[in-house]
Amino acid sequence: MAHVNDNIKAYKGFRSITLMCLAVLYAPLLIVTIYSFNASQSITNWEGISLRWYADVFTGPESEKFKVAAFNSFTIAIIAATASTTIATLAATAMVRGGNFKLRTVSFGLISLPLMVPEIVTAVATLIFFNAIGFTRGYMTILVAHIAFCIPFAYLPISARMQGIEDSFEQAAMDLYATKRQAFTKILMPLMAPGIISGFLLAFIVSLDDFIITNFVKGAGVETLPTAIFGSVKQGIKPNIMAISTMLLSVSIVMVTISYFVSKSDNTK
């Protein structure tokens, strides 16, 4: 056989395509982060390092609006992530441990379908649904919508983790005089914990930065951070937006990092 060079680096254009992808993905984030420390009023001229726009976020003319929006965003994210993780954990237990029940494949499809449906469709549908049942738009509508669309995000890491846990562990626990409930709390839950935590963090992030659905189902005057930022940007981009975006970005990075290490961590070693 002829020598086959399967080293991907040897392909023509490998380096340029890679660099282009990285640039398109990360250059904007990098620029926003750098310019959030700009001392200038302008968003394009660099005039030296300063934290004035961070101060502006907390004390400036728009600070009150951002504070309320941040409060809404974080409380909604925490409640939605908690609720959706709980539901997803139960769903995963039923799906993975429920044997081969009828409509199992259908159930799995129904749980994960929202990941593939265009978000705008979900947004419009949710809005119509709330209108139809006469649910006044506001904080609660955002919360309910977030709980719903966070479920598949929480479900995936939890069920992936659970599929790796043999059911003989629970059988062994019950064989050793544990009730079904004790087998779940003492054996299955601790083994699932990394999946549950990473499902929670994923749901939290997804809720925190959701814009489209939130924008549709929020009532007048109720803002989350993404909708508040969008509102501000409509009146022109000011450097304080870059500061607030950078802060959101750091929250995301921290969450994703925790999620990564938790899913890697193993309480069995």
Binding site: F169, A172, M174
Partner: protein, 363 residues
């Protein structure tokens, strides 16, 4: 039937069906107190299903299971005073070895301190005290096996169920564990029900063996009975190596049956109830109960030609083609070479059968 409080397990007409498939076809058997009992059979014979029914992981479709006289077949697993050693051990990976062993005791209501104390003693019994603080993944397969054993024995179950616990170990370790299991059973006085597909393992360890196939019990008996007096073709073939010969029974008299096989060769063996004159049945002859000679030593010596000698360590197996008949395997122990001869391939020889070596088989 009256319930017997002294029998460890009494399985009565147990049937297990999965939809249209019948995994167990009306099994009845009694396992005595303090017995090392083995369920032996090929995969899919229903032995593990029966074990899991005793443990409570499978429903009983029909029939009853009694544990020292009490019906248990409807109790959930955690209410049955039996413990299981799982095939893959199923040690809780997030707990230390000590906590694993203490788990059953704690679930039974012992205080954490008491449970750990007793767990420590169990680990001593299986010589793993120094590993108490480790996690299961830090132990070797053999060590995990012993932890699983300690964990299942710690709550002092009335019956210990072992589901092919040695199958993942290498040969040497398996042999050592066989002895250790046997000693543990004697020391603790707990009834062991052991499931295996390895007939040698079953013969080595068991007080009694139930040979199973296709959801039915083929024979129940001591290892010697199972090996020397197999009831049917399946048992004779499954346990050990044997020569299975198609024979016709010519005469039954005074407990002896005179038979002939193809090529006009005649053979005499002990008669079996239910097999009369004219029956066409199979005869089983263990290869180690045959010997070869260069001249006929009795009227029933079978003429043949040596095809091949196979060296198997302690023995030599010789394949002999009978004149107008089947091929025989003759096994000669290397320690017996003074009395018994080995012939070169191609030699014309006679195969002789020890008295009572042939066994007629039902079906």
């Amino acid at each position: 039937m009256p319930s017997n409080k002294t029998d460890a397990i009494d399985v009565r007409n147990a049937v297990k069906r999965y939809g249209d498939f019948t995994a167990l076809k009306r099994i009845s058997l009694t396992i005595k107190d303090n017995e090392f009992f083995t369920l032996l059979g090929p995969s899919g014979c229903g032995k593990t299903t029966l074990l899991r029914m005793i443990a409570g992981f499978e429903d009983v479709t029909e029939g009853e299971i009694l544990l020292y006289g009490d019906e248990i077949e409807k109790l959930p697993p955690h209410q049955r005073p039996v413990n299981t050693v799982f095939q893959n051990y199923a040690l809780f990976p997030h707990m230390t070895i000590l906590d694993n062993v203490a788990f059953g005791l704690e679930m039974r209501g012992k205080s954490k301190a008491d449970a750990r104390k007793r767990a420590g003693e169990m680990l001593e019994l299986v010589q793993l005290s120094q590993f108490a603080a480790r996690k299961p993944s830090q132990l070797s397969g053999g060590q995990q096996q012993r932890v699983a054993l300690a964990r299942a024995l710690a709550p002092q179950p009335k019956v210990l169920l072992l589901d092919e616990p040695l199958s993942a170990l290498d040969l040497k370790l398996r042999k050592a564990m066989q002895l250790e299991l046997k000693h543990l059973q004697r020391e603790t006085g707990i009834t062991f029900i052991f499931v295996t597909h390895d007939q040698e393992e079953a013969l080595t360890m068991s007080d009694r063996i139930a040979v199973m196939s296709a959801g039915e019990m083929q024979q129940l008996g001591t290892p010697t009975e199972i090996y020397e007096q197999p009831r049917n073709m399946f048992v004779a073939d499954f346990i050990g190596e044997t020569n299975l010969l198609e024979v016709s029974v010519d005469q039954v008299m005074n407990g002896r049956a005179t038979c002939h096989l193809g090529g006009g060769h005649a053979l005499t063996c002990n008669s079996v109830d239910g097999i009369g004159e004219g029956a066409k049945v199979h005869m089983s002859v263990r290869p180690e109960r045959l010997f070869m000679s260069d001249a006929p030593v009795e009227a029933e010596s079978l003429k043949g030609r040596v095809a091949e000698n196979i060296f198997v360590g302690t023995d030599i197996s010789t394949l002999v083609d009978l004149a107008e008949g089947p091929q025989f395997i003759v096994r000669t122990s290397n320690s017996d070479r003074g009395n018994k001869r080995i012939f070169e391939p191609g030699s014309e020889i006679f195969v002789n059968m020890e008295l009572g070596a042939g066994r007629l088989l039902m079906d």
